[in-house]
């Protein structure tokens, strides 16, 4: 059973990844402009020579096959833009900052989001509920770039408490982490509150109350477990987007992470780097989703893996 599930799952995963990579490759190459169209205008022979060196003069499907063959050997090629630097090295250097930023932000948003959601469902209608939901609504409705700018203006320009950018000491990490965690925090808090309130109407909760259990035990032990399932579903995409780094946060705070390359590599038509980035993103997202599916079974024993889509 488990083996068939894992096998099916692997085929599905590989197909998804292949789709992602193939689509990116061809869309990217169909877009006008090339990696060597700079301000410098080269003589036609030199241009042709460079293109021949990188195999860009071959038909597209063939280029793709060559790229895929290199990939299987673990070679992601050298970047066009950062001449001579292998793509694997660029990604390896950028990963730690993104993982750090995303990991801490995820932890914070998970803990605070759950806490806020539970609190506001528990004390619904009180000022606690209203202020928690105010934070949640602002987190969902404010664009990240605005949150970042307002925080920098307030805490570094006007108050001078925190550095406005960079990723060096602990102090400089506060603002980017707060910015990045606000939105997932808000989403988790709202989701927790909604599902918790729904679950609280269920029969088994009434039974728990009538057994004479106190509110605290009922909410934390009985209700929360069932309310967590939709929250866990959200975690996959949230984790992937946090770890691959929010482009805006990394740009505004000048953090040397993955996010920045997502946009710049495409604009530079740095084909090998774009493909490397896409692959990294896809793998992280797939791992996150797999992790989420496996977590379901732990939280809710009724869920059998075969039923998980």
């Amino acid at each position: 059973m488990m083996a068939t599930y894992l096998f099916k799952r692997m085929i599905q995963t590989l197909a998804t990844l292949a789709f992602l990579v193939v689509t990116t490759f061809f869309l990217l190459r169909l877009a006008p402009g090339g990696p060597f169209d700079g301000e410098k205008v080269w003589p036609a022979e030199i241009q042709a020579n460079i293109e021949a060196k990188y195999g860009l003069n071959q038909p597209l499907p063939k280029q793709f096959l060559v790229w895929a063959a290199d990939l299987l050997r673990g070679d992601l090629r050298e970047s066009f833009h950062y001449v001579g630097t292998p793509v694997t090295e660029i990604i390896r250097e950028a990963l730690p900052a993104s993982f750090q930023l995303g990991g801490i932000a995820l932890l914070i948003s998970l803990i605070l989001g759950l806490a806020l959601g539970i609190l506001s469902a528990w004390k619904r209608g009180t000022w606690l509920d209203f202020s928690a939901m105010f934070i949640a609504v602002s987190g969902i409705t404010l664009p990240t770039y605005l949150i970042a700018t307002l925080l920098v203006l307030l805490f570094s320009s006007w108050l001078g408490w925190l550095p406005p950018a960079l990723w060096e000491d602990k102090l400089s990490m506060i603002l980017p982490i707060v910015t990045l965690s606000l939105r997932p925090l808000a989403i988790i808090a709202r989701m927790t509150r909604t599902t918790l309130l729904e679950v609280l109407h269920a029969d088994y909760i009434r039974t728990a109350f009538s057994k004479g259990l106190d509110e605290r035990t009922v909410i934390l032990k009985h209700a929360l477990r069932n309310a967590l399932i939709p929250v866990v579903t959200l975690l996959g995409p949230i984790t992937a987007s946090l770890i691959t780094g929010s482009y805006v946060v990394e740009t505004i705070f000048q953090i040397p992470g993955l996010g920045q390359y997502f946009v710049t590599s495409v604009i530079d038509r740095d084909y090998p780097l774009v493909m490397g980035m896409t692959l990294t993103y896809g793998i992280i997202l797939i791992l996150c989703n797999l992790f989420v599916d496996l977590t379901y079974g732990i939280i809710d024993p009724r869920v059998r893996l075969e039923n998980v889509k």
Binding site: Y145, T149, S246
Partner: protein
């Protein structure tokens, strides 16, 4: 009966009213705005908010208030159009997959799953490169990445509706599948679909502003709120008004849509838990 529930809901009145005012301002920007959105040197350059230019002016001496008014038109248009595109495409896909099931379901939902994993930012960049940085590129980038959510929602709803007595009755009197599906089932799902639309529109406005902020969206002299925020961001230390006012406009719109969606959900679709979850 329904009407009274709408009028009793304070959130609905306030947020709906705010959005009506906003749509009015956007539609009649030509008459309301004191200057054209691209008229340069109508005032001093980079003036802070003063009498006559109560939101200040930008680096070319353009009136920020006028630019934000015209920006409302662009931002709202992108939000509405992409949400309706996603609604139509998602509804047809989801309805067919859910109603016919079997191979249809597997193939269509397979496509949906493939799109689901595609990183929005990457697709948006590729599409804007391919189609140019205009309305079409933005439109397709946002539309193509959001319709899958809609498709999943409609499929789940149709799966439930398929088993209801009125569908069986339709089949018994010999209606065609297409007629049952699009004349009877889909109109019955209007409530949840409207609710998800009110969450989708602000999400798309936010995405547009994000893409424009990154520099992939509408280009100057057009003034969507994201474009304005992008221009304002460069001088944020010295001229914060250039970023704060477009940001405020966006924030107010988002809040209004948010509460409208919440109240509509409570009135039209009390059981569901659709919410604004995706986006940047």
């Amino acid at each position: 009966m329904m009407m009274r529930r709408f009028m009793k809901d304070r959130r609905f009145i306030w947020s709906g009213g705010a959005l009506l005012v906003l749509c009015f301002l956007a539609l009649f920007a030509d008459w309301i705005a004191p200057y054209a959105y691209d008229a340069v040197s109508v005032g001093p350059n980079l003036s802070p908010p003063v009498n006559g230019f109560w939101m200040g002016t930008d680096v070319l001496g353009r009136d920020l208030f006028s630019r934000i008014l015209f920006g409302a038109r662009l931002s709202l248009a992108v939000g509405f159009c992409t949400a309706i595109f996603a609604l139509v495409l998602g509804t047809v896909t989801g309805a067919v997959a859910g109603y016919f099931g079997g191979t249809w379901d597997r193939v269509l939902m397979g496509v949906v799953d493939l799109f689901y994993i595609f990183p929005m930012l990457l697709l948006a960049i590729l599409l804007t490169l391919l189609l140019g940085r205009g309305f079409t590129g933005i439109f397709l980038a946002i539309g193509m990445t959001t319709w899958v959510t809609q498709a999943r929602l409609v499929r789940a709803l149709v799966l439930q509706a398929r088993e209801l007595p009125y569908v069986e009755a339709g089949r018994a009197i010999g209606l065609t599948h297409g007629r049952i599906l699009f004349r009877h089932i889909v109109p019955n799902l209007l409530g949840p679909m409207i609710v998800s639309l009110t969450f989708q529109i602000p999400n798309n406005i936010l995405t547009e502003s994000f893409l424009s902020f990154v520099g992939l969206g509408l280009q100057p002299p057009y003034s969507s709120w994201g474009t304005l925020a992008n221009e304002g961001f460069r001088g944020i230390q010295s001229y914060p008004h250039l970023m704060i006012f477009p940001g405020m406009a966006l924030f107010i719109t988002m809040i209004a849509f948010h509460f409208l969606g919440d109240s509509l959900r409570d009135i039209l679709d009390p059981k569901s838990s659709i919410g604004s979850q995706s986006g940047q």
